[in-house]
């Protein structure tokens, strides 16, 4: 068991700067998810930690060993690849045993290790099969079992669920979570799926255009995004950002005045508010502002409303039995403790005091 630490990693591919000085620390036994859109550098960072790519600048530590210059085989890691990379010419048993065979462990230890990993992944009845005889989900299980069998200090996963269909993905997600809580292996997990990140992670590292944008617990990342990118990327529908005029230490939404946490020198300020944090009323309420309903989308657990407020659009969710039609005017009351204030010039959150 060991933590991972990377320090000011820089990497370019030709003219493309993939990573611009990323530092990150994964604690021992922690499950960290690297989340970001494609091209943000998350897979490159994972591959640098694995030793499959080398950074131009920066260092990588696993536990207290500086592994920056070490080849992958000397790093005591295991990895689950996006397309599984289960060896087609080996049986499931030999696939799971691969890492142990490379370590030249004794026959009993090998058998026991394979059996333990196969049992954890519920594939103990498939050991004699070849990968060509397995379904995608079963191959995925073999790939994870192969990684668990070596009892690595650190487990790296590169979008391991992205090739599975939606239903299977949901099932495997819950299973992975159970498994990794049980095995307590330090895990770094790459995904572009924000729901996957929220559901699995102890902490989420949000990346964009080669930078680490925010690194915090899932609910913190969700409720207190560091900037407009994080607020927009995480959550479906994304966070609303309303551009509001500033009057003294208050921001004004028509008749409603909201206290700003600190003094703001600019003329305008961005209010970030999640669709579920806007309470909708058909009658005027204190602490609310009016908006006109443009679209009503019934989504099952709730209705998704698109409203117009001046020239800006705003999304809000209301209970499924809420009686509302397009064209109607609703009064929206923002939850006062769920507001996020951001600087409109750079999209960064304004620090609370």
């Amino acid at each position: 068991m060991a933590g991972i630490r990377v320090e000011s990693i820089e990497k370019t591919f030709g003219k493309f700067k993939a990573l611009s000085g990323v530092s990150l620390e994964v604690r021992d036994q922690e499950f960290v998810v690297l989340l970001g859109p494609s091209g943000c550098g998350k897979t490159t960072l994972l591959r640098i930690i694995a030793g499959l790519e080398y950074a131009e600048r920066g260092r990588v530590w696993i536990g207290d060993r500086d592994v920056t210059q070490l080849p992958p085989r000397a790093r005591k890691i295991a990895m689950v690849f996006q397309n599984y990379a289960v060896f087609p010419h080996l049986t499931v048993f030999e696939n799971i045993a691969f890492g142990l065979r490379m370590q030249k462990v004794s026959a009993e230890k090998l058998g026991a290790g394979v059996e333990r990993a196969a049992t954890l992944m519920h594939i103990e009845n498939l050991l004699e099969r070849y990968p060509a005889q397995l379904s995608g989900g079963q191959r995925q299980r073999v790939a994870v079992a192969r990684a668990l069998a070596v009892e690595p200090e650190v487990l790296l996963m590169d979008e391991p669920l992205s090739n599975l269909d939606a239903l299977l993905r949901l099932e495997m997600r819950a299973e992975l979570k159970r498994l990794l809580i049980e095995s307590r292996t330090t895990t770094l997990y790459v995904t572009h799926d924000q729901v996957e990140a929220m559901s699995l992670a102890d902490r989420i590292a949000v990346m964009n255009t080669g930078y680490l944008v925010q690194f915090d617990e899932p609910m913190k990342v969700y409720q207190e995004p560091a900037n407009t990118f994080v607020g927009g990327f995480i959550g479906s529908p994304p966070m609303n950002f309303l551009r509001l005029p500033v009057e003294g230490r208050q921001a004004r939404i028509q008749s409603l005045a909201l206290d700003l946490p600190t003094g703001v020198s600019s003329q305008e300020v961005l209010l970030g508010v999640r669709p579920e944090d806007l309470e909708a009323h058909t009658q005027q309420q204190p602490q609310s502002f009016p908006a006109e309903v443009l679209v009503v989308e019934p989504l099952g657990p709730h209705l998704l409303l698109t409203l117009s407020f001046g020239k800006q659009h705003i999304k809000a969710t209301v209970p499924p039995d809420f009686d509302v039609r397009a064209g109607q005017t609703l009064w929206l009351r923002p939850q006062p403790d769920r507001l996020r204030w951001l600087d409109p010039s750079n999209g960064q959150a304004i620090p609370m005091r």
Binding site: P72, R73, G99, P131, Q133
Partner: protein
């Protein structure tokens, strides 16, 4: 829409007819020729005459020896070259093209190139005289030095025909996703283990194709041998040629052709059996 089902068959028909006419039919004719006597009845006379001939045992011996020496040498070299090419990024195409130049040279021309090196007033003797190793030009390719002829033929064949093995193996290596090698690397395999446990088994189908192709062609070796050694290094295909042309005996020539065919078939079946890739073996 029903008529569209026949289109593929119509489109392959010309090539099938072509092959039947120019390969299958002559093949059957050659088989018949080899087992028909001068009177017209069935006989093994041609095979008996072939086996009794002075050159037959040497021809069989040298053909098999050449195959056994040349083919493994070519596969090992081509595999090394293909793997080297895989780790080059800049100038990869240049190496690829230079290494495949011999593909464009006919075997007769290749034989003449190597004759120009090994002949009495050739490049090798000029060079050795130039640096003072020998005083007189040496006769490398005479009936007294079959070993030297053998070496010259091996050199010419390796120079000429390694490229085809190389091309097949390069294509095969490109078909193997790099994740397999990366996975092996992450799970602790050294470069040699990666080659032995992952690359080589996954390359088996391509190796099989290359071995079958090269072995069949090696068993038919002719032009290079004739140019470098004449009949001083007899081979099966050469004997077929001499019996047909010089002795005007198509029956015995056909018997030689049938022998070559028989050995080729046996070799191919052996490769298919021994190198069966394991993942289809159980499917």
């Amino acid at each position: 829409m029903r008529s569209e089902r026949y289109i593929p068959y119509v489109l392959i028909l010309p090539s099938v007819l072509f092959l039947l006419l120019l390969f299958a039919w002559p093949l059957v004719e050659a088989l018949l020729l080899s087992v028909r006597g001068s009177g017209g009845g069935w006989t093994l006379e041609n095979f008996q005459r072939m086996a009794a001939d002075l050159y037959f045992r040497d021809a069989l011996k040298y053909t098999l020896l050449l195959t056994v020496v040349i083919v493994p040498l070519q596969v090992v070299m081509a595999l090394g070259m293909a793997l080297l090419l895989g780790s080059i990024s800049k100038g990869r195409d240049l190496f690829l093209y230079v290494w495949t130049i011999p593909l464009g040279i006919s075997d007769l021309a290749a034989g003449i190139v190597w004759l120009a090196i090994f002949t009495e007033r050739g490049y090798l003797n000029s060079f050795l005289q130039g640096i003072g190793v020998i005083q007189q030009p040496q006769l490398w390719l005479s009936y007294e030095t079959p070993m030297m002829i053998f070496v010259a033929v091996v050199a010419a064949e390796v120079w000429r025909a390694t490229a085809i093995v190389f091309v097949i193996l390069v294509a095969g290596l490109q078909l193997i996703p790099k994740e397999y090698s990366e996975a092996a690397e992450v799970f602790g395999a050294t470069p040699w283990q990666r080659f032995r446990k992952v690359t080589l088994p996954l390359l088996m189908p391509s190796l099989q194709v290359a071995l079958i192709l090269r072995t069949i062609l090696a068993l038919e070796v002719f032009a290079v041998v004739v140019v470098l050694g004449g009949r001083n290094l007899p081979v099966l295909a050469g004997e077929a040629y001499f019996w047909y042309n010089t002795y005007q005996n198509p029956g015995v020539a056909a018997a030689y052709a049938v022998i070559i065919l028989g050995i080729s078939v046996v070799a191919t079946l052996l490769y298919l059996r021994l190198l069966r890739s394991r993942q289809d073996g159980v499917a």
